[in-house]
Amino acid sequence: MPLAASTRDLRFLDPAVIARLGSMELKARTVVEGFLSGLHRSPYKGFSVEFAEYRQYLPGDDLSTLDWKVYARTDRHYVKKFEEETNLDCHVLLDVSASMAYRGAAAMTKVEYGSVLAASLAYLMHRQRDATGLIEFDDRIRRRLPASARPGHLHAILLALDKVAPGARSDVGRPLHQLAEALGKRSLVVLISDLLDDPENIVRGLKHLRFRGTDVIVFQVLDPHEIQFPFRGAARFTDVESDDVVTADPERVRESYLAAMASLRARYEKELRGAGIDFLSLDTSKPLDFALMAYLDTRAKRK
């Protein structure tokens, strides 16, 4: 990955390191700062978050951009330059179903990984003055923090993510439809889920969002065991959500499983991208910068 290669210090993005950090706020800040630190030194500067700054008024500048408060304090004319509008509502949808509590050999469960990712995104969005909201769901919406750009709202989101608890079986499509109906203006929705639910419903729900003019980024969070299926010896595979049992010899079924998983991911890739939805499959053993980069990429498109 060019981005990963360009970042010198991925230590602070490593999930194994992140998992050992204390609060969610610390985790988010570590991830984002580390990410930004690397990003500033990378050739992809265009993706950098642009900080609000002031410069002296020059003839021809739009008078509406004059910052009168600064003029009052300094008796000089300054205009706000490069400051983003804060009219973007970002909603982070975090799947907290039982399957997200699965952890194979990785340092974090999928829901922990997703929480850090959600927190990082929220932290990043907050820095961009975007209104950020959080929705936790399994087969229905469990918790909803509406989008807001207030300074204390980030803290509330991080606090909520700190207390995420796995729920029941997942039904991703249902909250997506609910959300599509609830969003009043153009927004950005970030879905963090393992997407092991019925792909038909999921895609339909995401397309519903997209149909309503919402930009969507989908992060599929998978455990390395789900991706590689490294098991050995016959086992009775018990579904953590449905208690369905399949007895199989992993060595005999690995090939077909991996093919099915690849097929599933390819289907998401194809159908979501076809609908203008960004899709990124994440491995809980890998750093979070891919996800953040994807977000920024999508965010940049909205300018």
Partner: protein
């Protein structure tokens, strides 16, 4: 499908083993929580199905292998696979009752009809029977059977269905579904006390060749030598009184006749003067409508004597044998039952061998005066089937006794002087059987002295003292029977002779020891000794002249219907089982399905090995 040794099928229960292992194996895989089970299911199910199919094939192969092994050892065969030819045995009654008017011809006709009725390819055998059954035509074609049937003539024998059934069972031994056709006048007397037993698998058909007849018969002709009277018994089996002339011929004299009327279904005794000490009598009547063979009867004078008992004592001065001789000579109301004689040992030695052989029983109460020659006589007597009774006493020397009878080892009793009581150990023994409920009375006898005997090899204990020592033992020596009583019978060692049980005890011993085949002077046609013509009349059996007569029971007019006949036949599975087993063995031996079973087993094991290695 049947099995020759079905017990081996129990080995098929071993199929439980692979089934249980198969079921247990399902739980071998440990549970493992996972998320993408739906993806796994998609692929795993197919694999799992293949696995399950493979396991099921393996299970089926192993179960089939065990079943085939058990079935092969059980020797399967298909019953009824043999060609279904059937043999019909036609058994025609040839007893003298078939001599009644029209019965022979009707019997032949019915037999021919039965022969003609068999299906093409079936075999027919013809048997003629009365007291015995003879095969006139072995299983074969109908023509041979018809020819044999036409030769059947009534004889002098009596009807015995058992003889016909036995012969039919013999002829149909190799038939699974043979058939027997009985053609007879169906006399009830043909089912004698031995019964008539027919194997289960033989189909029985009954043809009634008889019609009710009114028969007069001479059922007895006897001579009473002491009273000089000849008696004839005339029997009327008809429903009406019949008059007839009874003619009697004594020796070679001129016939004497009496005209008598015999009531319906009754008998009449007719007496004639038999002066001149005749030994043979012939009685005849006229009865053209009834059975011809029973119109004549032959009688012969039989002098009957009492069984002789010889008591050997110590000599003229001895009082031994007093109680025994009195007990055996007791008059039971019709005179004594035994001819008792008491002799000293020396007098016994002087007796001729033939005189000794005439003795039914020899009671040895003393060994005094018995020398080596006496021993030879005693042993010869025993060898001729004689009965010897020995009672212990001071006059009987065990060593001398053992020497006389050549006992090895010699008898070595201990003379025990202790009060004991006799107990009848085995009430089934012929000596004690008549006592039954009163056998306990033996317990009233007090024995002060007795021999303590060692009932070793060859001896059988018939009674014991209450201390367990033998009281009465017996053995068979050289064909003769010998009993040894452990105490005396002269009231010196006990008070037995004073008790009521003494007389019947000694008499039963004498009867038991003296029991021998009777020599008769009269035979029925069906019982004549070998070499004697089986026709009524006088015949010579060795040096004796004997009378041979038809069986008077055959003269009975009591007949059965075919249905009643069928009900009286006893069916047995014993012969059937043996026949079925033999047929099964033969069939199985021809089919050899067990070999195919083993080949299938090998093929199954190959499949199992092939599938199991995948």
């Amino acid at each position: 499908m049947s099995f020759l040794t079905p017990l081996y099928l129990l080995g098929g229960a071993l199929i439980a083993l692979p089934i249980v292992l198969h079921l247990l194996r399902r739980d071998v895989a440990p549970p493992l929580p996972f998320t993408a089970v739906n993806l796994l299911r998609t692929s795993a199910v197919e694999r799992s199905r293949q696995h399950r199919l493979r396991d099921l094939i393996l299970l089926a192969a192993r179960v089939a292998a065990l079943l085939l092994l058990a079935a092969s050892f059980a020797r399967p065969y298909v019953a009824g696979a043999a060609p279904a030819t059937r043999t019909t045995v036609i058994a025609v009654d040839r007893s003298y009752s078939m001599s009644a008017a029209g019965r022979r011809d009707r019997a032949r006709m019915l037999a021919r009809q039965a022969a003609d009725a068999v299906q093409r390819g079936d075999r027919v055998a013809v048997v003629a029977f009365d007291d015995r059954a003879d095969v006139l035509a072995s299983p074969g074609v109908v023509a041979d059977a018809r020819a044999a049937i036409n030769t059947i003539e009534p004889g002098y024998g009596a009807t015995r269905y058992a003889a016909a059934f036995d012969k039919a069972a013999e002829l149909l031994a190799n038939e699974e579904h043979g058939r027997l056709v009985i053609v007879s006048d169906l006399q009830r007397t043909g089912f004698d006390s031995t019964g008539a037993v027919l194997p289960e698998g033989i189909e029985l058909s009954v043809r009634d060749a008889g019609a009710q007849v009114s028969n007069l018969s001479v059922s007895a002709a006897t001579l009473d030598g002491t009273r000089r009277v000849a008696r004839a018994t005339i029997r009327n089996s008809g429903d009406e009184a019949r008059a007839t002339d009874v003619r009697m011929v004594l020796e070679e004299r001129a016939p004497v006749s009496k005209h008598v009327s015999v009531p319906a279904n009754d008998t009449l005794e007719v007496t004639f003067d038999a002066a001149g000490d005749p030994r043979r009598v012939t009685v005849a009547i006229d009865d053209a409508s009834g059975y011809q063979a029973d119109n004549q009867r032959f009688g012969i004078y039989e002098a009957r004597g009492l069984p002789k008992v010889l008591i050997l004592t110590g000599g003229p001065a001895s009082t031994a044998g007093f109680y025994l001789s009195r007990a055996l000579g007791a008059d039971g109301g019709e005179g004594p039952d035994f001819d008792v004689r008491t002799l000293s040992g020396s007098a016994f030695t002087a007796m001729s061998e033939s005189d000794i052989r005439d003795q039914s029983v020899v009671a040895l109460l003393s060994t005094h005066g018995l020398d080596r020659r006496a021993g030879d006589r005693l042993r010869a007597y025993l060898a001729a089937g004689g009965g010897l009774f020995v009672a212990a006493s001071a006059d009987v020397d065990p060593t001398v006794l053992s020497t006389l009878l050549e006992w090895q080892p010699q008898l070595a009793p201990r003379d025990v002087r202790r009060a004991r009581i006799l107990a009848a150990t085995d009430l089934r023994h012929p000596v004690f059987r008549p006592f039954e409920a009163v056998a306990a009375n033996f317990g009233q006898v007090l024995f002060d002295r007795a021999w303590s005997l060692d009932a070793g090899a060859g001896w059988r204990v018939a009674a014991q003292f209450t201390d367990g020592s033998p009281a009465l033992i017996e053995r068979v020596q050289n064909g003769g029977r010998l009993m040894l009583f452990a105490s005396d019978v002269d009231r010196r060692w006990n008070d037995f002779p004073l008790h009521p049980t003494f007389v019947p005890f000694t008499q039963e011993i004498a009867r038991y020891l003296g029991a021998r085949p009777s020599v008769t002077a009269s035979y029925l046609v069906g019982d004549v000794p070998a070499g004697t013509p089986a026709v009524p009349g006088f015949a010579q059996v060795g040096a004796r002249t004997v009378a041979v007569n038809v069986d008077p029971r055959e003269a009975s007019a009591d007949r059965l219907t075919p249905v009643e006949f069928q009900k009286l036949v006893t069916r047995t599975t014993a012969g059937t089982r043996a026949r079925v087993e033999r047929l099964a063995r033969e069939t199985e031996g021809q089919q050899n399905y067990w070999r195919y079973g083993l080949m299938l087993l090998m093929a199954t094991l190959v499949v199992e090995a092939f599938v199991g290695s995948r």
